[in-house]
């Protein structure tokens, strides 16, 4: 039986000779991404921006315009209403409300009057508690309006309310997780290889992350907590790819002490090319199944991941490896090299 092969057994593609073009393409993409994020901004979801998301389904068709105007009449600021298909194939709508501030919501009399007897001044704490309470009041108000508009039989498939305290923390923790993951990789690669490798690997990772953020800015796909998980996975995957190439570069540097660095790099990339493609394809098979079948809930997440696999594969070949050429890596890898050279 003939085996399926996308990549021939032996290739000698001169990858590094394209490194100037790749550098230009990557550089442009990174700059464009930064501009996109700065100007268009990311479409932060409830997790990071705070506010309310309510997903409602009904057996009867739902009039989007009516929902929009009914919820809009509550005076809750920026309201977005969009149609959604849940994994069961039922149609519904999602209502997003921006983060509420205490004075923006009319609370029912009595409910908001917290006891301030004895002249204690705990106003700071009260104001915060009221901001949190305002999200809850808004969420309840929207549910009541939807029930009045669509009937009592509607199902609230999903209600998410994130107050200002939590949304702030989630942003911080998300950014911290990505930063720490990068730092840990930098140190690990440094310890296992050399500082040039470590720098190259992290440059490739930064490249992947920035361009992924750029894609989210341009497409305005919702950027929520699972996307941070996707980015961290991209970091892991892209690093995985890069390490496999680097591992081969290190081995070939030992084997071919006299070969030019560009030749060694090209040889290493070609040696591992079949594996790189193979792993990308298997991972993509699994991810595409998830993207197509997994439903709306996971779609943004799997999209980020599919994109990440593609960009991660590209960057390990065209960013990480050429970076070694630019920084000039040490050539003598024999065990006693340090003591032998004066």
């Amino acid at each position: 039986m003939a085996l399926l092969k996308f990549i021939p057994d032996q290739t000698s593609i001169p990858f590094t000779s394209w490194r100037m073009i790749a550098a230009a393409v990557s550089g442009l993409a990174v700059v464009a991404s930064i501009i996109a994020v700065a100007t268009l901004g990311l479409n932060f979801g409830v997790d990071f921006r705070g506010g309310v998301t309510i997903e409602v389904a009904s057996d009867d068709p739902i009039d989007l315009g009516a929902v929009r105007s009914a919820v809009g009449d509550l005076g809750l600021g920026d309201v977005r209403v969009q149609e959604i298909v849940d994994p069961g194939g039922d149609k519904g709508v999602v209502v997003f409300i921006e983060q509420q501030e205490a004075d923006a919501v009319e609370t029912s009399p009595g409910a908001a009057q917290s006891e301030t007897a004895d002249g204690t001044d705990a106003e700071g704490a009260d104001a915060l508690a009221d901001d949190e309470g305002a999200q809850q009041t808004a969420s309840k108000a929207v549910q009541d309006v939807l029930r009045a508009l669509l009937g009592e039989d509607i199902r609230f498939n999903k209600i998410e309310v994130v107050g200002p305290t939590v949304s702030g923390e989630l942003i911080q923790k998300g950014a911290l997780a990505v930063a720490l993951a990068l730092g840990a990789m930098l140190i690990y690669i440094w310890a296992r290889f050399e500082w040039q490798f470590s720098l190259g690997a992290v440059a490739a990772l930064a490249h992947d992350i920035i361009i992924t953020l750029g894609v989210f800015a341009v497409t305005q796909l919702e950027f929520n907590l699972p996307i941070i998980a996707a980015i961290l996975t991209i970091v892991g995957y892209s690093m995985n790819d890069t390490v496999v190439v680097y591992d081969r570069v290190r081995e070939n540097l030992r084997k071919f002490k006299k070969k030019a660095l560009t030749e060694v790099a090209d040889l290493s990339i070609n040696d591992t090319l079949s594996r790189t493609v193979m792993t990308s394809v298997t991972t993509l098979i699994a991810l595409i199944a998830l993207y197509v079948i997994g439903g709306d809930v996971l779609r943004g997440f799997t999209f980020a991941m599919i994109w990440g696999i593609l960009i991660g594969t590209y960057s390990s070949i065209f960013v990480a490896a050429p970076f070694l050429l630019a920084t000039g890596v040490k050539r003598d890898w024999s065990k006693n090299a340090v003591t032998a050279t004066p």
Binding site: L225, A229, V297
Partner: protein, 541 residues
């Protein structure tokens, strides 16, 4: 070395079998599980709220309130200590004690310098109660500082921390009594950080009702109604000292009542409260029973005030203000009014569960309907099967016989992941399913690295056995480095991530470990076993 000795072989296959064994309970119903023989483990993978439906609430205990409540009542007691009682003389103050919440300090100024020492003694006697073992024996919760005629009473940092921790502990107990009074629901209530509580309640119950039950303070007090003051006068500001104006609950009619501030009975003296039908009106009422102290006080009070009214106040609202017809001994009573069955049940539970030490503010809520959850499970499972099948076919097409070995390793890998998740009793969430699907895609990577190496060695002219040996050896460093980095990324997700991210991180971490194990050991056992047994002249992959 391709060959494993007998012991190693048993260890490898045994691990895989264990994975399968721990996966089994997930396919059994609870009755089958009970009848199963003893060696079958019983822990199953739990489904997360996003897959089974339910509500996740993150509550913040308003810690300032905990301190404020204590200090405010201490302030009242300090004031009382300055009054004459028994053979003690009155200590004259320049002004009533004030409380500053920012510094947690009560300050007072004694009029005569000669009284300062006596005032200090009385305050020290009042504040001498220690905090118990938790803060250390002998440590006083309050510091008393005298400067001239001024006396400051400050709560120490340690005491504040201690009281807040106690408040969080008490709040958890109260919340549990409220939402799971019988203890038969799978509700999880856990502390998070210094001042937060996570409530996870599976099921399709209305999250709004759940929040309403949790967020009520449940402060119950019985007050004497001051019938001499017109509530309308009181509203316009003519409230005599020592009285409070409390609004009526809406179902009791409009207006407010003027009450003596000092309660006759507090909620902690109520031993029990039940919802019951009212045989006279056909409606519903709440029956309650006091403990001994409460019963005695209530008996004394009703004896002294026949013909007057008392008010039952719940969370700053008068829910009932009946006239005392005669002395009520025995310590039982009932609250009647125009209540529905639901209101009565809720209020009775609220009273029974006791008061929260401080307000609980909901700062994050995530609720998923059970129907959406079931759909998500189905979609996730189908995606898993399709992705799995796709990878399996692709591996066989690419590597032939070796692809089959890799696929066997992959199946063992999935069993090990499921087994590990069951063993740890982990919670499977939708992102967790995504993590498994991704792991399936990435798990073959280690095998791919090995096979590509073997292929290179074969092309380099090595005989099959030697090529396979070299392939496994040379791929090792790449496999280790690549997987350590992925594991590190997952570990950061787990440590810093919230909810959905953590579920994903757990499956990814488990997947990294099991995929290295199965690829490196199981595939080697299978491929090595075949090549050593058959000694083929050539191999194709």
């Amino acid at each position: 070395m391709l060959q494993f000795n007998r012991l190693q072989t048993i260890a490898i296959l045994g691990t895989v079998l264990l994975g399968v064994l721990f996966t089994i309970p997930n396919f059994l119903t609870s009755e089958q599980l009970e009848k199963a023989p003893g060696f079958v483990p019983s822990s199953q993978v739990k489904l997360g709220l996003d897959l089974r439906g339910g509500s996740y609430l993150l509550l913040k205990v308003e810690t300032d309130e905990v301190i404020d409540n204590r200090m405010t009542s201490l302030r009242r007691e300090v004031q009382r200590e300055m009054r004459p009682s028994g053979n003690r003389e009155r200590i004259a103050l320049q002004a009533l004690p004030t409380y500053n919440a920012d510094t947690a300090t009560i300050s007072l100024r004694v009029r005569e310098a000669s009284d300062v020492a006596e005032a200090e003694d009385r305050i020290k006697a009042l504040t001498r109660q220690g905090l118990g073992a938790a803060v250390g024996v002998g440590l006083r919760p309050y510091e008393v500082i005298v400067t001239g005629e001024r006396i400051d009473i400050r709560m120490s940092r340690e005491a504040q921390t201690y009281y807040i921790a106690e408040a969080v502990k008490d709040s958890i107990e109260v919340v549990r009594r409220r939402i799971d009074p019988v203890g038969n629901k799978e509700v999880s209530i856990q502390p998070q950080g210094a001042d937060r509580i996570i409530v996870q309640a599976p099921g399709d119950d209305d999250p709004e009702a759940l929040k309403e039950v949790i967020n009520r303070t449940g402060q119950l007090t019985f007050h004497h109604v001051d019938g001499t003051v017109d509530p309308l006068d009181a509203e316009s500001g003519l409230l005599p000292p020592g009285r409070i104006l409390v609004p009526n609950a809406e179902y009791e009619g409009p207006g407010a009542e003027v009450l003596y501030e000092e309660p006759v009975i507090t909620g902690d003296m109520v031993a029990d409260a039940t919802a019951e039908p009212n045989s006279e009106t056909g409606g519903f009422q709440i029956g309650f029973r006091f403990d001994n102290t409460g019963a005695r006080r209530f008996g004394d009070f009703t004896r002294d005030h026949v013909g007057e009214r008392f008010a039952i106040v719940l969370d700053n609202e008068v829910i009932s203000a009946p006239r005392i017809q005669s002395v009520i001994p025995g310590g039982t009573g009932r609250i009647t009014g125009n209540f529905t069955a639901e209101e009565v049940t809720r209020t009775a539970t609220l009273i029974r569960s006791g008061a929260l030490p401080a307000t609980l503010t909901t700062i994050e809520q995530r609720s998923v309907g059970a129907e959406l959850g079931a759909d998500s499970v189905r979609a996730g499972a189908i995606a898993l099967i399709v992705g799995f099948a796709g990878v399996i076919i692709y591996m066989v097409l690419s590597y032939g016989r070796f692809g089959v070995y890799a696929d066997m390793a992959l199946i063992a890998n999935v069993a090990l992941i499921a087994g590990a998740l069951s063993l740890f009793g982990s919670t499977l969430t939708l992102p967790g399913i995504a993590g498994i699907v991704l792991t399936i895609g990435m798990a073959v990577d280690a095998n791919v690295l090995i096979f590509e190496r073997i292929r290179e060695e074969v092309l380099g002219g090595k005989p099959p056995v030697r090529a396979i040996e070299l392939g496994f050896d040379k791929a090792r460093s790449a496999i280790v480095d690549a997987n350590v980095t992925t594991f590190a990324a997952a570990a950061f997700m787990f440590i810093l991530g919230a909810g959905p991210v953590r579920g994903f991180a757990v499956t990814l971490m488990i997947g990294v470990v099991t995929s290295v194990f199965t690829a490196y050991f199981l595939t080697r056992l299978l491929a090595g076993g075949w090549v050593l047994a058959n000694r083929p002249k050539t191999i194709t992959l």
